[in-house]
């Protein structure tokens, strides 16, 4: 009881004694207004970051983990600012928002900070103890090779793996991770030169770091053991075998470092270089393109005794160009297999039937057929027998791994086949089906050049750009056709931007061919004299499927090309973004009048922004009413003006020296840039009043609410039924609430482009659903034409435009002023298609007239 009396006392006292002074009220209002402005800015920034994230996910863009992290941070910080501002404006009401925010941001934080599962286990594992289930210790490549080594009747070189746990030990002991992350964070992937620089710096850091003594000892011991198994002083090949590559079918073909013929003395140094190979520029860019975080990848290193190769090559258990073909592809080269995958040497190609008895279906001999004198004394096995043996092995491995295999092999002086690597085949996303069913080449076509090998199917066109060195690479334009002598793995960073690839040599078994298929870039190899016949800047169309290069742009061929694959599909970074967006973008709080429009029902950051925006507007609008804010309260606009308009000066919207004690204000006294622009639109054409056809009925309701005769501003009608402007010099919030119909224009105009915006929202209206929809459609057609981003949802729509110069936005405000006044008439006649068209045409011609003088000024 006492409490109630106290409250009553307080209330009475507030009414009488402690009424705030004018100056205090102004200061209070300005503080709120500033908070309101900063809330709107934060709202803008948060929504913009959300839009960028959605765009990245749905438009198939490439984005990095750093992007996801930075955008998430931007959203969270701005939402936090909005909450702070709202609490400030509302005097602490809605404090429960903080709890909702904490809950959501904790969840987002968890997803962002998720650590990759760290592998454990020994530092050194001998190959014969490795199987395919150990990819999380030794990397995919070595795990597969260990598995191959265990298959009866198939031989591999002897060797051992240095595990990911070992490389982690090495990096941690030298405290390198923080510095590497710092360098990577600054990376701008668009700037190739900077990528090279940072890549070089990181690799130098790693190569120059000291190998921990315990690890060095273990590596040396393992080598001694290998010597006992093979021969003293055995040379080894050291190659990367990264962890986490297998995710989402990425190949990482040729992205890393391999070193051949390493002896004991250089084991340690080479090991460090192979580990550093994780940060070659091509590997960095590849990971980015495919959606891998650098921390997702750890380096294992394989150490295998060298095979003295007489012949080497690649066998595909199925044709990588078209898995439906009934043959295995075999590429053969004299010497070590390295040259095949490097794409530097021409190779012989054999196609062998997969069905028993295996037969050679086709052979293409591109190597010089006469072996040089030095080589004649080594017995060269008959090619046909060899090809059939390799096919048998390939089919065994395919069966064992349960998928078509891409196998690297070598044959030593004794004629024994050694398997060096086996992994799943990467097929072209475009299999060139039409090409194989029809004729392979149109005899009447006279192309500019012909090629021998379809490394990756498809058609691409663009200006040619010849690349021979790193300087050429840096100048490579987007969507150009890459022309090179040899398809070296070094060129792979350019595949991100190339429209097609032409090489004078190479086979489909090379690393660059694999990456082209993966990225969906058409690639034609074995194009003789390409560098002579194509000049920089020549526009060419590359038809990789039909193995031809044509001059100019060939629409007929391009019509066959397919859209590029979504490279990030299923990648860890994409999964992370998708998961995070669940807590950011869905909007559950859509209807402010619903009982669920409460701070406790905010489930996403978008909900919070929506809630804060709505409530802050409410708080601002009711300010004058709540505080008997006589001097600042709404003033009626008087003069030669149609209808009834009210203006609330938030800060500096009236000309200096304006008499602010009265109850009215004249347009001449207003200095709010956005309001004046809207006003221009409102007054540009005389308002005819509602169309006479519906003067009775619904029209008269609207008419009445607009033409309310209660002119005396001393008799305030509720705020919700007035047309009013909340203004400052740079800001205007213009609301039209007419019975069932609500429109709001809001704008901020200043010299800072980033702050400028115009937004328009429109809801409801006194009409049935069909009419409403038709009206919204009409409005959105008009606004889209004038560069607004329009979003429609049911019977409401929003249109936004931002970060444009003041003159441009002023024109948009005029349009909105015009539309809010005149679109009302449409309500009444919206049912008839003919009258809609008539109105649309009239609107367009009026708007053109409206904008004319301004464009002349500018």
């Amino acid at each position: 009881m006492k409490a109630i009396i106290d409250r009553i006392k307080k209330y009475l006292l507030r009414g009488a004694g402690s009424r705030p002074s004018t100056v205090e009220l102004q200061a209070d209002f300005q503080a709120r207004y500033r908070e309101f402005r900063s809330l709107l800015t934060a709202n803008n920034n948060a929504l913009e970051a959300m839009a960028e994230m959605e765009q990245a996910l749905h438009a198939g863009q490439t984005f990095s983990a750093a992007f996801v992290r930075s955008r998430s941070t931007a959203v969270m910080v701005n939402v936090y600012k909005m909450i702070q501002s709202l609490l400030e404006i509302s005097g602490g009401r809605y404090h429960k928002l903080k709890k909702s925010f904490e809950k959501i941001s904790a969840r987002v934080g968890e997803i962002l900070e998720q650590e990759t599962a760290v592998s454990s286990g020994p530092w050194i594992i001998p190959l014969h103890k490795i199987n395919k289930n150990m990819a999380d210790q030794v990397g995919e490549k070595m795990a597969n090779l260990g598995e191959v080594a265990g298959i009866e009747g198939i031989s591999t070189p002897k060797g051992f793996a240095i595990s990911a746990a070992a490389s982690r030990h090495f990096l941690v002991a030298n405290n390198l991770n923080a510095e590497i992350n710092r360098l990577l964070q600054m990376l701008n992937p668009e700037n190739l030169a900077a990528v090279y620089e940072i890549s070089a710096e990181i690799q130098k850091l790693i190569s120059n770091a000291a190998l921990p003594a315990d690890l060095e000892t273990k590596i040396n011991d393992a080598y001694s053991e290998l010597e006992r198994e093979t021969r003293p002083g055995v040379k080894v090949a050291m190659r990367s075998s990264a962890l986490g590559e297998d995710l989402a079918g990425a190949t990482f073909a040729g992205q890393y470092h391999t070193e051949l013929n390493v002896d004991r003395e250089f084991l340690g140094q080479t090991y460090k270089e192979v580990v550093a190979g994780k940060y070659t520029s091509r590997a960095i860019l590849y990971r980015l393109k495919k959606g891998y975080r650098h921390e997702d990848i750890e380096m294992g290193v394989g150490c295998l005794s060298m095979v003295d190769a007489i012949i080497s090559g690649i066998v595909y258990s199925r044709d990588p160009g078209n898995p439906g073909n009934p043959w295995a592809n075999i590429n053969v080269l004299r010497g070590a297999a390295q040259k095949v995958v490097m794409g530097t040497a021409p190779t012989d190609l054999f196609l062998v039937s997969r069905q028993e008895p295996h037969q050679i279906i086709k052979q293409e001999l591109h190597q010089e057929q006469k072996p040089s004198e030095a080589e004649t004394d080594t017995p060269f096995p008959p090619a046909a027998d060899l090809a059939i043996d390799l096919t048998k092995i390939a089919l065994i491995l395919e069966k064992h791994f349960g998928a078509p295999q891409d196998i690297e092999w070598s044959i030593d002086g004794d004629g024994k086949i050694h398997i060096l690597q086996s992994r799943p085949v990467v097929f072209s996303s475009d299999t060139g089906e039409n090409a194989d069913s029809g004729e392979l080449e149109n005899p009447e076509e006279q192309p500019l050049l012909r090629g021998q090998v379809t490394a990756s199917h498809g058609v691409g066109f663009g200006p040619a750009h010849l690349v021979a060195n790193a300087v050429d690479m840096l100048q490579f334009p987007r969507q150009a056709v890459l022309v090179v002598a040899h398809p070296l793995p070094e060129w792979s960073p350019l595949l991100n931007r190339a429209a097609a690839l032409i090489a004078e040599t190479g086979s489909e078994a090379g690393h660059l061919a694999t990456v082209s298929r993966e990225f969906g870039v058409p690639a034609l190899f074995g194009v003789q004299d390409a560098l002579k016949k194509i000049n920089n800047g020549d526009v060419v169309t590359v038809d990789a499927t039909y193995r031809m290069v044509h001059a100019g742009r060939r629409e007929d061929l391009l019509a066959r090309s397919k859209p590029p694959p979504d490279l990030m599909a299923g990648s860890p970074v994409q999964a992370m973004l998708r998961e995070i967006l669940q807590y950011i973008t869905p909007l559950n709080l859509t209807d402010p009048s619903s009982p669920y429009f409460k701070s406790t029902y905010c489930e996403t950051l978008h909900d919070i922004t929506r809630f804060c925006h709505e409530k802050s507007v409410e708080e601002m609008f009711s300010f004058g009413e709540k505080y008997h804010f006589n001097q600042r309260a709404a003033k009626r606009l008087v003069g030669e003006v149609p209808l009834e308009w009210w203006v609330i000066d938030l800060a500096d919207g009236f000309q200096e020296g304006t008499d602010v004690t009265g109850k009215t204000v004249r347009v001449e006294n207003i200095v709010s840039t956005p309001m004046l622009a809207i006003w221009d639109g409102i007054t540009a054409f005389p308002w005819q009043g509602p169309p006479s056809v519906s003067f009775r009925g619904m029209g008269s309701i609207l008419f009445q609410s607009t033409m309310q005769p209660g002119f005396d501003p001393a008799l305030p009608s509720p705020m919700s039924s007035k047309n009013y402007f909340l203004i400052s010099k740079n800001f205007c919030n213009f609301s039209v609430r007419l019975g069932y119909h609500f429109a709001m224009v809001e704008s901020y105009l200043s010299d800072l482009l980033t702050e400028n915006y115009v937004s328009f929202s429109f809801k409801g209206g006194a009409a049935d659903a069909r009419r409403k929809a038709a009206r919204i459609q009409l409005l959105s057609q008009i606004l889209s034409r004038y560069d607004f981003r329009v979003e429609q949802k049911g019977d409401s729509m929003t249109a936004r435009i931002e970060k444009r110069p003041v003159a441009f936005l002023k024109d948009r405000l005029k349009i909105l002023g015009y539309l809010t006044l005149h679109a009302r008439q449409v309500d009444m006649v919206m049912g008839k298609q003919r009258s809609i068209t008539r109105y649309r045409n009239k609107f367009f011609s009026d708007i053109e007239m409206l904008l004319k003088p301004t464009t002349a000024e500018v």
């Binding site: 100056v23 205090e24 200061a27 503080a31 500033r34 750093a66 992290r69 930075s70 998430s72 941070t73 969270m76 910080v77 936090y80 600012k81 702070q84 941001s105 987002v108 934080g109 962002l112 900070e113 992350n181 710092r182 964070q185 600054m186 800072l752 980033t754």
Partner: protein, 142 residues
């Protein structure tokens, strides 16, 4: 544009020096400090308006420095600078009263804009306090 005093706190010498130089060219009065400790020493003179503060520094970290600045000189506005964008440091800084945060590397114009906004806020707070002071003085019976 009003001239105001900015202190740039970052252990990364190159970034610090280049930014100081560029901001001075844009008519700001700008100085650098290479550590949190040095920054606290510098602000005690009382003429710094806005601090640009790197989150990650050896010794006294950015968040710790922010806490100290806000404790000693609550009117100074602090813009946090993060290299490795981490949600934690962004939000933590805001909770501790930072004005805003920026991510490295950034361009000069957005930086300038942010510093100006921060200064506007500081100026405003100052005016408010002065106003309250005047009011108190006037209310005092004389």
């Amino acid at each position: 544009m009003t001239l105001f005093n900015v202190l740039i706190v970052d252990d990364e010498q190159e970034f610090r020096e280049v930014t100081v130089k560029r901001l001075n060219k844009r008519d700001l009065h700008c100085e650098g400090a290479e550590s949190g400790e040095k920054a606290l020493e510098r602000i005690s003179k009382g003429d710094i308006d806005v601090v640009l503060l790197d989150v990650k520094m050896p010794g006294m970290g950015g968040i710790e420095t922010l806490r100290e600045i806000k404790c000693r000189m609550p009117l100074i506005e602090v813009v946090m600078l993060t290299g490795h964008a981490s949600v934690e440091s962004g939000i933590d800084g805001m909770k501790m009263g930072a004005f805003d945060y920026l991510m490295k590397p950034m361009e000069l114009d957005p930086l300038l804009e942010k510093l100006q906004e921060a200064y506007a806020k500081k100026k405003n707070q100052q005016d408010k306090i002065e106003m309250a002071q005047i009011k108190r003085d006037m209310a005092r019976p004389s």
